[in-house]
């Protein structure tokens, strides 16, 4: 789609790159800018001054530490990596429209790149019991609060003579949801106890918005990641939880896919036991279902009952996939080959 007016609207921004567009097309959330000097992607977003600085710092830092698989940002002719105009912030990138060089899926590429970034930015934090305690209590309180809200919704639904299809669907899975919420809390407790006893906590640079839509391929078919606007220093589990929550929604999802993705990540950065507990905890808490209830309560006019029920059912089925995946994540790793037969090992021991 081409908008002649957009050439004029984006003029003040593109002027800062000395670009004079021949045509601008809207493609998803970016603008494809076609000029005599080449084709570019212009992203429009909202960021405050601090977020702009952090975003620029992240991009430069990743490049400095040797990660070159993010879609690069072009500086303006004044050396800025972002441009503020009106209430929006813009940044310019090359237009990537290549096809993958390998036969790997987008998810395989994505998890591999996320793992690379985590490895490059991994930092063992100075252990602070207060910080861990604060995080634990914050999350636990939040989850308990959410559980109470959902219990209240279930009670109100039960009191009705005629329940809506949405309420009926919700109630028929309510106990399973609560069981998962309890499981999440238990795993969070395990994470907290292990952190306190082992006195360790690792952080990495998280992309913060992991999505298969942010995987692009250069003209040479090399995978590149887009969008580090929400990047943040946090536990590696943050990105993994976002990744798996989205991945299970794929219509072709199989547990084998989840096992493979987890394997790709583990091969680069094996998670510590407490991090596995935290991942399972994040994944198990049925927030997506609770969110469907929020939507049902707040947007009654916008969606039909049928749409709301379908949305809830999709999330219930995703949560079932998550349960299966969590079982795999918590499985102890197979013992190394030389430990496979204890007798053999004993025999080998000269003592």
């Amino acid at each position: 789609m081409s908008f002649p007016n957009e050439v004029q609207n984006y003029g003040p921004i593109l002027f800062q790159y000395d670009l004079y567009p021949e045509r601008i097309e809207a493609v998803g959330k970016v603008k494809k800018v076609i000029t005599k000097r080449g084709t570019f992607a212009l992203k429009e977003t909202k960021m405050n001054e601090e977020e702009r600085r952090w975003f620029t710092h992240v991009i430069q830092r990743l490049s400095e530490i040797g990660y070159h698989r993010m879609v690069p940002l072009y500086p303006t002719k004044y050396g800025d990596y972002t441009v503020q105009y009106g209430n929006n912030v813009y940044y310019l990138m090359p237009w990537f429209s290549g096809t993958p060089r390998t036969s790997l899926s987008r998810e395989d590429d994505l998890i591999g790149e996320i793992a690379k970034i985590h490895v490059l930015t991994l930092k063992e934090q100075d252990f602070s019991p207060e910080v861990v305690e604060q995080s634990y209590h914050y999350l636990m309180n939040r989850w308990e609060g959410r559980q109470l809200e959902m219990e209240r919704f279930a009670e109100e639904a039960e009191r009705k003579l005629y329940m809506s299809p949405f309420e009926l669907t919700y109630l028929s899975h309510f106990h399973e949801m609560m069981r998962m919420a309890e499981e999440a809390k238990q795993r969070l407790g395990e994470w907290y106890n292990t952190c306190q006893s082992e006195k360790r906590y690792r952080s990495v640079l998280c992309n913060g918005k992991v999505s298969r839509n942010h995987v692009l391929f250069s003209h040479h078919g090399e995978v590149h990641l887009l969008n580090f606007e929400k990047a943040v220093l946090d536990t590696p589990v943050r990105d993994l939880a976002i990744f798996f929550r989205k991945a299970v929604h794929s219509p072709t999802w199989k547990i084998e896919d989840g096992m493979r993705y987890f394997g790709i990540y583990q091969a680069r950065l094996p998670l510590l036991d407490e991090e596995k507990s935290l991942l399972v905890s994040y994944l198990s808490f049925p927030e997506p279902l609770f969110h469907s209830v929020d939507m049902y309560l707040n947007n009654r006019g916008r969606f039909t009952q049928l749409e709301m029920v379908h949305r809830l059912e999709r999330r219930i089925s995703a949560l079932k996939r998550i349960t299966e995946l969590c079982g795999f994540i918590l499985m102890p790793p197979p013992p190394p080959e030389n430990e496979a037969n204890p007798n053999e090992q004993t025999n080998q021991n000269p003592i």
């Binding site: 003029g11 002719k77 050396g79």
Partner: protein
Amino acid sequence: MTMAILEQIAEHYQLDHAEWKEENKVISTNLGDKQVRFWAEEQLLNWHIEWRDEVALGMNVATDRMLRTANQNPWIASGTTYITLHDHVTTTVPCAGYEENWGQLIGGLLQTGIKLHDKYKEIAVKNDYSFKKCLERLRKYKEEGASFESVKKCLLEADKRQKRALELTETFRGIPLPLLDRLDGRKGKEIFNLFFYEGGTARPELGYRSLRIFLIKWLNNSSPYSLKKLLTCINDHFSLETEHGFLLLAEILAPIELYECLDRLQESELSEMMTILRNFEQDWERNRVLLHHYTDWLDEKRRKVAL
């Protein structure tokens, strides 16, 4: 020499094509026309880089910031001289109708001027005006037998204004004054609907003198309504309802036009004196009108707060 500079510019800024359009001033390149500026003093250059960058940050106005080289440097060195490259914009804009743009720019300049005060105050041009010196000069003319009626007529009012200006500056002593690049209405331009301001190369000026001169010219070229709108727009980005508004008032009150007139008379031939005195009368009147409208605007603001 100029060819060597051109080659140096093309290499550092990675230009495919560059040729002089106006020797040592404007070059024509594959990325459009660019202005070339030469700087002898590093600290002065740094001031000009910094205020331009600061003002453009987060604002919907552009300044003629230094273009970055391929190494992201804002200048290139050529012997003991620094060379900078800037956009060359030629479409000028009038005052009226552009109050918001000018207001945003001036608000940004004032904010930046205060922020950078400590860093660059050493290179600033300071206000050398003194009413005492002014009276001394006048006494000297009197002794020589010269009597300037138009000047004499203003003395009483000048004295009152001077005293009030001194009271205000005394009240707000210690408040840092902004450093400003000399404001010039002819340097407001437009490109792609973007307001673009072309800065100068001179030393920064300490205080509100530059703004006062600009406001007098603005009023002369537009209307009191436009002036008040401009003041409101400046106020949206840099509050003139604080001590800074009063320091600007002090600057407008100070009878500088009288001092300047006497200064010019001292160095002039008899034939020029009439013109200088006529200009003085005009300047005196214009400043009175500005003072009237500025105090009026301040009162309106105060009334709004009281309501």
